[in-house]
């Protein structure tokens, strides 16, 4: 199929050979699972179980709150040890509300869990409802509740579902393995999502460094003309939703908009797989595939991991560290984040655990910018990273925003190519964080102002009422002697 060019991008060493040939293995149950109540974008779930309660696999542990949220379920059967705080799977290492579950080893599914015989007979709303109930979120790492995305058909005129199998981050191979080993299920999930979205056209987009996945998908989709497999050129960040859609359709998503604005919805293969399981088997999302790789890992693997498993468990299963890693990363090396430790649990968005050596990270002290403009050439968004960073560095946030800070997708291509090793993304993250803080402060100010105004209006109304009552009384007293009100009597007493 005809593809279109995107601007910029880089060609990092993909290092997928480390784990690409490792078939998916089931990780044995950890002694304790820590299921965080927030593993998605939106509101945290609220606990639906008590301490000491016995739960079955797939039983609801926390209910989603509000329109953008997701429930969490028991990854295995066992006993609830507690509902408390536990370090989050987040660079900050701060504690979040977490349910701790002690597996009983039986791994017994909740009774009554069953799928739908024919999902295509269901109403799209019903599919979205089941996807929401299964706690499925975007599993490429964005963790946006998938059901919300399935309901986009109500607001937009959609025509295509794209399954984003680009997996353009180096090292990661779990989507590759999933598409190779569970081809039919991924395709089935994609078809169910297409049905829910009301579109007929499905494009499964896979980078050319995954020929087996391409072949498997092409074979499985051979009998359906509505499903096409696109071989993407290898270039980071091909898997960026908006750039992927541009590669496939030639159209850019309008700034601050969604790909749905140009009729396309993008989902990850792992999300499609989860949708398949939710609809066909009735299984909620309780495990996911994780690539454990990097030069410091003894035996890189692709693992099926129950959610809530401590990262240490994965590393131990892969033979531990071959050498002391310089960095322990969640996700890919380009957009992933450092893990605060190995105690933290695997969450719905963890697609990789990477232990990288100093040689792989290749960090060096930053030198002055020589304006070589490699970052300008690498930016897939047409920004001027060197100038944005200079403004951010000088504390000129407005200048940074004027240069397009909010159009930056944080892909890291600029930092990757910078010969002076300037941490450009760090500057942008700082500026974005400051902007968010400013936004919150502004909101708080506006809210305070609103409350003060309301209070003033309230007091004013009371005084007005008093004045009117007084006037009325005066008018009355002018005619006849004043009748005592209960309040007046109290005042006299």
């Amino acid at each position: 199929m005809k593809l279109f060019n995107i601007r910029g991008g880089v060609h990092p060493e993909d290092r997928k050979h480390l784990a690409a040939d490792q078939a998916i293995e089931d990780l044995p149950l950890a002694p304790l699972l820590h299921v965080a109540l927030q593993q998605h974008i939106g509101n945290a779930a609220t606990p639906a179980v008590r301490r000491g309660q016995q739960v079955a696999k797939g039983e609801l542990l926390g209910t989603g709150q509000g329109p953008i949220s997701a429930p969490v379920h028991a990854p295995t059967s066992g006993r609830i040890m507690g509902i408390g705080s536990f370090p989050a799977h987040h660079v900050s290492g701060l504690s979040v509300r977490t349910i701790t579950l002690q597996p009983d080893g039986k791994d017994q599914w909740l009774e009554g869990i069953e799928g739908v015989p024919d999902p295509f007979a269901l109403d799209p709303d019903e599919i979205a409802a089941r996807v929401a109930a299964a706690g499925i979120v975007g599993m490429g790492g964005a963790t946006f509740p998938s059901a919300v995305k399935l309901n986009l058909r109500k607001k937009y005129r959609l025509h295509t579902l794209v399954i984003n199998g680009a997996e353009c981050e180096p090292y990661l191979t779990c989507d590759d393995r999933l598409m190779r080993e569970h081809t039919a299920q991924v395709l089935d999930g994609a078809r169910i999502m297409a049905h829910a979205l009301g579109v007929t056209q499905i494009i499964i987009a896979i980078e050319n460094n995954k020929p087996q996945a391409q072949a498997a998908m092409t074979g499985a989709a051979a009998d359906s003309p509505a499903v096409r497999v696109a071989g993407l050129p290898m270039r980071y960040p091909m898997g960026s939703e908006k750039h992927l859609v541009q590669t496939l359709t030639g159209r850019e998503t309008p700034a601050r908009g969604l790909t749905a604005d140009i009729g396309v919805v993008v989902h990850n293969p792992a999300t499609a797989f989860a949708v398949h399981q939710a609809l066909r088997l009735g299984w909620p999302l309780v495990s996911r595939l994780v690539t454990v790789s990097g030069g410091a890992i003894t035996r890189p693997r692709n693992l099926r991991v129950p959610l809530g498993t401590p990262v240490q468990q994965l590393i131990d299963y892969c033979g531990g560290f071959r050498e002391e890693p310089t960095r322990l990363i969640s996700g890919g090396p380009m957009m992933g984040n450092p893990l605060p430790g190995t105690r933290v649990p695997i969450v719905k968005g963890s697609n990789g655990v990477l232990a990288l050596t100093a040689e792989e990270v290749n960090a060096q002290a930053a030198a002055p910018c020589i304006r070589c403009a490699n970052c300008v050439a690498a930016c897939p968004c047409g920004l001027l990273p060197l100038q944005m960073a200079a403004h951010a560095r000088a504390g000129d946030l407005d200048g940074t925003v004027r240069l397009g800070l909010m159009d930056c997708i944080g892909c890291g291509s600029c930092s990757y190519v910078c010969p002076a090793h300037i941490p450009l993304v760090q500057f942008f993250n700082y500026a974005k964080g400051e902007m968010a803080a400013r936004g919150r402060a502004k909101q708080k100010q506006a809210e305070t102002k609103r409350l003060i105004e309301q209070r003033t209006a309230r007091i004013e109304a009371i005084q007005q009422a008093k004045r009117e009552a007084m006037a009325a009384r005066k008018r009355e007293s002018a005619g006849k002697p004043p009748a005592q009100t209960p309040a007046d009597r109290r005042a006299e007493a």
Partner: protein, 363 residues
């Protein structure tokens, strides 16, 4: 254990550094430089070493004065490259103090006063060359015809020392550059067809037998170096192509208009420092625009200026002036010429599509 300093990613980096870029540029300059040193013999070698040495010493002294660490800045190769390019732009038999003064102007005045690497507004080597040309026109326009090292007419080691250190420069065989000679003769009213045949053979001159500064000698080797830089992606094609194309276009048009007074495009490319400028000096990242369109504008402006100065202004060669003038435009170009941001039109408003119903993926 692993470092958990929360600095943002990526946690991978291309195998690149500032010094790698500088080393590649030096590598690209090496063939043309060695050829020129051979062509102009010992005096040229002395001047080259003096100029480069002065730049390195000046850089170290400035860093010391500014209390900045010496090693990273000295080892990044930028001062070396500045001295190298300056030496390439000087008459090869110029006296030692020209090299010393030039090196000091380049590093102290044009680079470190602005704040060091990456901060200078003008190309340091070109600032130095312009300052020297204006201050010492005689020394800066006294050229010799090439006399290859160890050939009978070449000066020996001792004679070379004498020439460079001004002990015995009286019997120096001076010659004008091609551009200078043609300018003089045109000024005397001779038409080009009478002037050129004796002094200019386009193809053999391209190899490097012309009188001139070291960087003007071998157009061919400089072109090879430039192509090497392009292949290594140290530079992009925008500035060289825009410069050369604009210069060639201007020369061709004027040549078609009046062949007796305006030489053709090849003359302008082979003669003077056109190729050195287009590939090595104009592409200096610090002083050229950052966006591809800005670079095209920069290169085109450079081509027009080089042609205009050579043809109508008071100097036979205008590369250094043209570059310094275009350097002044760089901040302006960078301010007005920016890439279009993804999802936005040129004015910065979000893209709007006329009819989304037609948005069908092409088969």
């Amino acid at each position: 254990m692993y470092s958990d300093t929360p600095i943002a990613g990526p946690y991978a980096h291309e195998r690149t550094s500032v010094s790698r870029i500088m080393v590649l540029v030096v590598l690209a300059l090496l063939p043309a430089t060695l050829f020129s040193l051979w062509q102009f013999g010992w005096p040229a070698i002395f001047l080259f070493l003096i100029t480069v040495g002065t730049c390195l010493v000046a850089e170290a002294a400035c860093l010391r004065a500014a209390e900045k660490p010496l090693r990273p800045s000295l080892l990044d190769g930028s001062a070396l490259l500045t001295g190298w390019l300056l030496a390439m732009s000087l008459p090869p038999w110029a006296p030692w103090w020209i090299g010393v003064l030039g090196g000091l102007i380049a590093i102290v005045v044009a680079k470190q006063v602005f704040g060091g690497i990456g901060q200078n507004l003008f190309n340091p080597a070109m600032v130095a060359r312009v300052a020297l040309l204006i201050s010492f026109p005689a020394e800066l326009t006294r050229y010799v015809a090439p006399a290859p090292l160890f050939s009978p007419q070449a000066p020996g080691f001792g004679e070379g020392l004498a020439i460079t250190f001004g002990l015995d420069g009286s019997d120096m065989v001076t010659g004008a550059t091609l551009l200078g000679q043609v300018r003089t003769e045109l000024g005397q009213g001779h038409p080009l067809p009478d002037i050129l045949p004796g002094i200019y053979q386009p193809w053999s001159d391209a190899v490097g037998t012309l009188a001139g500064s070291m960087g003007e000698t071998s157009a061919l080797l400089l072109l090879l170096g430039g192509l090497f830089l392009l292949s290594q992606r140290v530079i992009t094609w925008h500035i060289p192509v825009a410069t050369i194309a604009t210069l060639a276009l201007a020369a061709t048009l004027m040549n078609l208009y009046d062949p007796a007074h305006y030489p053709d495009a090849l003359y302008h490319l082979v003669g003077g420092a056109t190729l050195l400028a287009a590939f090595f000096i104009a592409t200096d990242p610090v002083t050229s625009p950052i966006s591809p369109r800005g670079q095209l504008i920069f290169g085109a402006g450079l081509g027009v200026l080089i042609y205009s100065i050579r043809t109508w202004a008071g100097y036979p060669e205008g590369v250094a002036f043209a570059i310094v003038l275009m350097n002044t435009c760089t901040p302006l170009i960078d301010h007005y010429v920016r890439p279009r941001i993804y999802g936005r039109d040129r004015k910065g408003a979000p893209i709007e599509y006329a009819d989304d119903a037609d948005a069908e993926v092409t088969r």
